[in-house]
């Protein structure tokens, strides 16, 4: 599988990273180099192998249903680039 410039532009859009034409051209080569290299994984016989789910044997712990957090509005908003009263502000979204 190899990517062309359209694909690179599509991936950039999906990633929400603006990309110039020149950057896209450069990225085509880089991504193809990396992808061609990782494709050697296809050689590995993985018959009957389950994909890894937990790196180290461990069980998911579940939390009790109690309110232990929240009510920290000032902390939550402290670093906001555009704080509007108690809200985060973003460019107007038309739904």
């Amino acid at each position: 599988m190899s990517v062309d410039k359209d694909t690179v532009n599509k991936i950039a859009r999906l990633s929400r990273i603006a990309i110039s034409d020149a950057e896209a051209d450069k990225m085509v080569g880089e991504l193809n180099g990396i992808l061609a290299w990782v494709e050697q994984l296809g050689e590995v016989d993985v018959t009957g192998v389950e994909p890894m789910t937990a790196v180290i044997a461990n069980k998911l712990r579940l939390r009790d249903d109690v309110v232990t957090d929240g009510d920290v509005r000032d902390k939550v908003l402290a670093n906001a680039p555009a704080k509007e009263g108690s809200f985060f502000g973003v460019p107007k979204v038309i739904e």
Binding site: V8, M27, P51, N79
Partner: protein, 494 residues
Amino acid sequence: MTELTKLGVAAIRDGVASGAFTAVEVATAFNSNVAKAKALNAFIVETPEKAIEAAQAVDADRAAGKPLGKMAGVPIGMKDLFCTQGVQTTAASHILEGFVPTYESTVSAKLWKAGAGMLGKLNMDQFAMGSSNETSYFGNVISPWRRNDGSNAALAPGGSSGGSSSAIAARLCPAATGTDTGGSIRQPAAFVGISGIKPTYGRCSRWGVVAFASSLDQAGPMARDVRDCAIMLEAMAGFDPKDSTSLDLPVPTWEAGLNRDLKGKRIGIPKEYRLDGIDEDIAKMWDNGIAWLKDAGAEIVDISLPHTQYALPAYYIIAPAEASSNLARYDGVRFGLRDLPEGAGLQDMYAATRAAGFGEEVRRRIMIGTYVLSAGFYDAYYTQAQKVRALIARDFENAWASCDLILAPTAPSAAFGLGEKNADPLSMYLNDVFAVPASLAGLPAMSVPGGLSKDGLPLGLQIIGKALDEQAVLNAGLAIEQRSGFTAEAGEWW
């Protein structure tokens, strides 16, 4: 007070406890070294006042006869991946420039509780993506080491914990935190002739550590010797209910358990790590390491880890995939950089912010990760990589039938020059070839100095252990340390 900065963690802790010197004296000495070493660019933020404050508290506790913590009086450097309350935390990225967390990571909080103080936030590869510390928005970190050929070429301190390795090697701090996703503690430690251990995945909480690849990220200590690593790891590790992947196990007393006698231990030498065209210096160092461990009483056995060659490509699917999702939160809405071009809508703001905020390598990895997870490619790339990862873990499981530890080089070469590997991302990635398998399997792994290259640069030996068996890893590290006679230091030029 220059001699204080020659001391390591254990010596400082013991000296402060015995009253040989005060914690404030130690902090002052290291603050002064930090201030003089701007040329290394190891710190993004210096916090001398924090170091002094913590030292004063330790001195006061000692005066009041209160019990002192494991790291009492030890000033350390904090990798800028750890969120520190009230102190800018950036992951060395423009996108987080100016971000001041309102919270403290679990690991850093544990260290402060143990009596350590913060000298500053250490430079690193941006979002921990890199092997040379050249991806930081805040500039390259320079290794204190130089080749013995008289050239003054600036060398890479390794990455991603390059600020940590450089600062320790230059005696700006006796120890520092690192994080290791695919070698980011071990490779920089090897490049500057210090020690560093990545514990078993789940030992150190990831809570409050800026995420790169969640299933691989693991914090660990970097210090001058094995004992110092053991002490600091004890202070960093421990169960954290706020991290679902944290191991609910007591923290072993690794320092007390240190034992350089390896009688009865079997050391596996994986044949797949002996690559065609292996660097001569590396091969020689590895042979020396084998001899030292034999001398320490260990039995040497040949082992096979058949899927080794697939570890790196699997890693370069899994890590970018996780990163592409983990880094989606940097969108200019709640914190960090916002780039809002005139008239831009929400989605344009995202794209502009992320293009301006992420460095080139970060953008590249997000794009790779996005691609391998995208519709139609997920199974071919991601699922296949996770299956191969399971096989790599199985390789280690099988190896443990015939050995207790594995000895290998940490990196395929000594430190390279800054800029030498920038042209092709792949050649940079290949530097992690020996480090990545243990990361994929979540196993504890350590790098200790193994000698010098022909160019007079440090080389690292890597010890990989069974899950949860950090003690055996540390013990083998100690055995090597005591036989290698590694005392070389970078001459001060900065």
